[in-house]
């Protein structure tokens, strides 16, 4: 049987057990595909195991820009026995399955292409080469030059020693040969337009982007405790700590992590801590401390399904409420939730400036899907970034005394919590200037000393909350994508951006627009205007309660009409978003008044693999 795939893009899925090298193949192939002149996007799903289980990686190869997950599988490379069963819901009659002769010997499907991967690998030197052979096959059928593929293999394995590299190069050549035969036998044929310009684009993954954002934000101290999926950012910062004068410390727990961060910040270093939901739960007391001692900190939360430990390696948007309400008492904060690489970079960088400007805790909500994706873009830092200086008019401090990062040189009369018009007091640090920097977790006076004066308490609460007015002025507005005279408005935040955006691009409808929030708190003042203008609104969220929808309701009084909620641990696919929108349009067509509750539906998705 022969299959011909042509057109704009092909979705390749590799599936195998943990330990079979699927992620190595991913890392090599995304490079090879990009250098080969195609747009590439990859995302992975995996089980919380070091060996075994079934993990898969999707690699989309496309002539147009793509950055979203699709359910569709055009080519499945099944490296493990369980692969086909694991992905059965996503395999269609058009899926070409390539797998190992022995592993798939019990699979009786006419469209399976069986190849003796393991046998060939053993001849080269061991089963570990099987994945590279598979990568070679794919590179050949994708028409990627052998030199380019070799270049990627060399970059990946050179540091592992001569012998391993030699084996890998041999395996690549073998893979190429098999690919060549497949093409000749006309079992497979892929034709996607290449564009040489893509070769020179930047290929990044989510973690890199958040990491660059932290570096550009001037991070100088990070303490954290490992927890998926925030660990990769910790690794990133640890690796660059030497080059960028950063102290990285693995704390004994999340409580120590955030408290160390606050100490570092008090002493003048921009500080960061990264964690996930249940780790963040441990940090929440210190979020209150940050608010009380008005000491900035940036907290990066890689979300995964909860409650408690939930599904450790899956994705979710379930921690918005936790972050929004964390900490004892009442204290202002800002929450960013970027959904694409450019925003992830700029919002992360901005988080450090906003934290310092208002002396508050600032949150970055990321998630497993977002940190693990790879794709190519023309450039990342398209506009200049700066580590902002304090230029606040009411700070009282003459400019000559201003250092940077919103820190001032103190004088003899310095009062850390001076009550100012906008609630922001000049921030001094110990060892810089003549004043004493006194901070206290108890209620305190302007000097920072403990007080039980109830009038002063009222003033201090108001001083701290006053900062929210400034924070609101600095809110990043939601981005409207699509026609401005929309009838249907899609609302999304964070990583649902990719699938929603691609769906919208595909639909080319002139009455659907997408309102994408990269900052979810405080809400931008125009939010109500945007939602009120639509005849119908629908929100997409990876949680079961529509946490952001509820926040919009709380802040604006507006109830979003439809809620598409997915909480099985997988991201929305382009197909799912499309289906939701088609249903919505259908309802709209069949109904004169779709605000009628009888026509309402809350879609919940349980599918996915």
């Amino acid at each position: 049987m022969s299959e011909f795939l042509s057109g704009e893009d092909v979705s390749i899925v590799l599936c195998g057990e943990a330990g079979q090298g699927i992620q190595t193949v991913e890392a090599i192939l995304v490079q090879a595909v990009k250098l080969g002149g195609y747009n590439v996007f990859s995302s992975k799903e995996y089980m919380s195991r070091i060996r075994g289980g079934e993990n898969s990686t999707q690699i989309r190869v496309s002539s147009k820009r793509i950055s979203a997950y699709v359910d569709r599988i055009d080519i499945l490379v099944a490296i493990s026995k369980g692969a086909i069963d694991h992905l059965k819901k996503r395999i269609s009659e058009n899926t070409i399955i390539i797998g190992d002769e022995d592993t798939l010997k019990d699979v009786v499907r006419p469209d399976v292409i069986k190849i003796p991967f393991l046998k060939i690998a053993k001849n080269i030197g061991g089963p570990i080469y099987a994945n590279i052979i598979a990568a070679g096959v794919l590179s050949r059928i994708l028409n990627i030059d052998f030199q380019i593929f070799e270049e990627c293999i060399t970059a990946m394995f050179a540091r592992k020693g001569e012998k391993i590299l030699e084996g890998d190069l041999k395996a690549s050549a073998e893979g190429y040969k098999i690919g060549e035969e497949l093409l000749k036998s006309a079992k497979i044929n892929i034709e996607i337009e290449k564009n040489d310009g893509i070769r020179d684009e930047i290929l990044l993954n989510g973690t890199d982007v958040f990491g660059y954002g932290c570096l550009a934000g001037g991070v100088k101290f990070m303490s954290s405790y490992p927890m998926t999926p925030s660990t990769s950012l910790q690794v990133f910062i640890a690796q660059y700590s030497k080059d960028f004068d950063i102290i990285f410390e693995q704390a004994e727990d999340e409580i120590a992590a955030i408290n160390m961060g606050l100490g570092a910040s008090y002493a003048g270093a921009r500080a960061l801590a990264a964690t996930s939901g249940s780790g963040f739960a441990l940090m929440s007391e210190a979020v209150g401390l940050s608010g009380m001692i008005e000491t900035p900190i940036v907290l990066y939360i890689g979300q995964r399904p909860g409650p408690a430990v939930g599904l450790p390696t899956r994705t979710a948007q379930e921690d918005l409420n936790l972050v929004l309400y964390s900490g004892p008492g009442e204290t202002p904060r800002a929450i960013f939730a970027p959904g694409n690489f450019e925003d992830a970079f700029y919002m992360t960088q901005r988080a450090f400036n906003i934290a310092d400007k208002y002396q508050i805790p600032v949150f970055i909500l990321s998630d497993q899907y977002m940190v693990d994706i790879y794709y190519n873009i023309p450039s990342l830092m398209t506009k200049d970034v700066e580590i902002e200086t304090h230029e606040h008019s009411v700070f009282g401090a003459p400019k000559s005394k201003i250092l940077w990062d919103y820190i001032v040189k103190t004088d003899e009369n310095y009062r850390r919590f001076e009550i100012t018009e906008d609630g922001v007091s000049p921030r001094g640090i110990p060892g810089f200037g003549e004043g004493f920097v006194v901070v206290d977790s108890d209620e305190h006076d302007e000097e920072g000393h403990i007080t039980e004066d109830l009038n002063l308490r009222t003033e201090m609460v108001e001083k701290r909350l006053k900062k929210l007015e400034g924070i609101k002025k600095d809110v990043v507005p939601p981005e409207l994508i699509g026609p401005s005279d929309y009838k249907i408005l899609i609302i999304g935040w964070g990583s649902t951006y990719g699938p929603i955006k691609e769906t919208l691009d595909n639909l080319q409808s002139n009455d659907i627009a997408f309102l994408y929030f990269k900052q979810v708190y405080p809400l931008h003042k125009d939010t109500l205007k945007f939602v009120e203008k639509a005849q119908k609104t629908i929100i997409f969220e990876n949680n079961a309660n529509s946490q952001f929808g509820n926040l919009i309701k709380l802040e604006t009084g507006f109830e979003i009409h439809e809620k598409a909620l997915k909480y099985n641990g997988m991201p929305f696919s382009v197909e799912e978003v499309t289906e939701h929108l088609k249903n919505l349009q259908e309802v709209e067509r069949n109904s004169t008044n779709f605000l009628n509750p009888q026509n309402r539906k809350s879609w919940r998705s349980y599918n996915g693999s």
């Binding site: 410390e249 409580i255 100490g263 210190a286 580590i387 108890d442």
Partner: protein
């Protein structure tokens, strides 16, 4: 240097009359003055409790944090600015109860900070519950039939973890206390000083008199570099020895292990990130 420069004018001291916290405060000021510690470079960090209020009564930079959490910020403060002298003041509940895990790991990290624990064998601020160091059979509103648990032994634990400086002193013996404080502050590395501190309000058992009767000083011949001996002395039953039990000057401090100081000792707040360097790093992702 005059210890009075550390006085906080008009401080509203919240301790009870006769509390052992007073002599600790006075003696700490004297020790700092004798060591000529630069007040503008001194940071006192504390957690929560009666003892944790001490920094408010000693003129210096102050970081008063959460219950049990003083060691984490103190470690970080010293790490980002090595020019600062960092001292932690804490209570037995704060340090050995809520903060126990941090104590263990701070000893492992060995930052160059001094920790003074006001050990009154009771919770003061929350009004008289047992602390990890409360003696057996002490009756409290929560331990209604008396404490059943063996008291926590901070010195033995610290020596077991090879802490770089471990000492105990008594708030009723000013000279001894001052000497121990001075040695601890001078010491390079993490110094733990447990101070027997009478709480006349909530601990009617372990009074000044009781501490006097139940303590004695380590002999001059005690060698603080002998870890086995130090451990043995720390686990003595009966009367409690006072003095410097253990010292290990051969450990690297946390700050010394940090690569940010391999070429440059300046505090981190003076170092600016070069954004161009970030840009270059991103640009590298154009090739493999």
């Amino acid at each position: 240097m005059d210890p009075e420069i550390f006085d906080v004018e008009g401080a509203d001291v919240a301790w009870c009359p006769g509390c052992g916290d007073f002599p600790i405060l006075r003696t700490l000021k004297a020790a700092l003055a004798e060591l000529e510690i630069d007040q503008k470079k001194l940071v006192l960090a504390s957690g929560i409790g009666q003892a944790g209020k001490l920094p408010h009564y000693l003129k210096s930079h102050t970081y008063n944090s959460l219950h049990g959490r003083a060691l984490s910020p103190a470690t970080a403060i010293k790490a980002v600015n090595r020019e600062l002298t960092v001292i932690v003041t804490s209570g037995d509940g704060d340090m050995y109860g809520e903060g126990g895990n941090h104590l263990m790991h701070t000893i492992r990290r060995n930052p160059d900070i001094t920790t003074i624990v006001h050990n009154n064998m009771v919770y003061g601020l929350t009004k008289g519950q047992a602390s990890p160091t409360s003696q057996m059979e002490m009756i409290t509103p929560l331990q209604v039939e008396g404490v059943f648990l063996e008291p926590f032994n901070p010195l033995a634990i610290a020596i077991a973890l090879d802490a770089s400086f471990v000492a105990r002193t008594f708030a009723g013996d000013i000279e001894h206390m001052k000497n121990v404080f001075k040695e601890a502050i001078k010491h390079k590395g993490f110094a733990l000083v447990d101070v027997f501190q009478p709480c006349p309000t909530f601990n009617k058992i372990n009074t000044y008199g009781w501490f006097k009767d139940n303590t004695y000083k380590l002999e001059d011949s005690h060698d603080p570099h002998d870890r086995n001996e130090a451990f043995k002395r720390a686990t003595e039953t009966g009367k409690y020895p006072l003095g410097i039990f253990y010292k290990n000057e051969n450990k690297l401090t946390f700050e010394e292990t940090l690569s940010v100081y391999s070429k440059d000792n300046s505090p981190l707040f003076e170092r600016k990130t070069d954004v161009q360097k970030v840009k270059d790093l991103i640009e590298k992702k154009r090739s493999v």
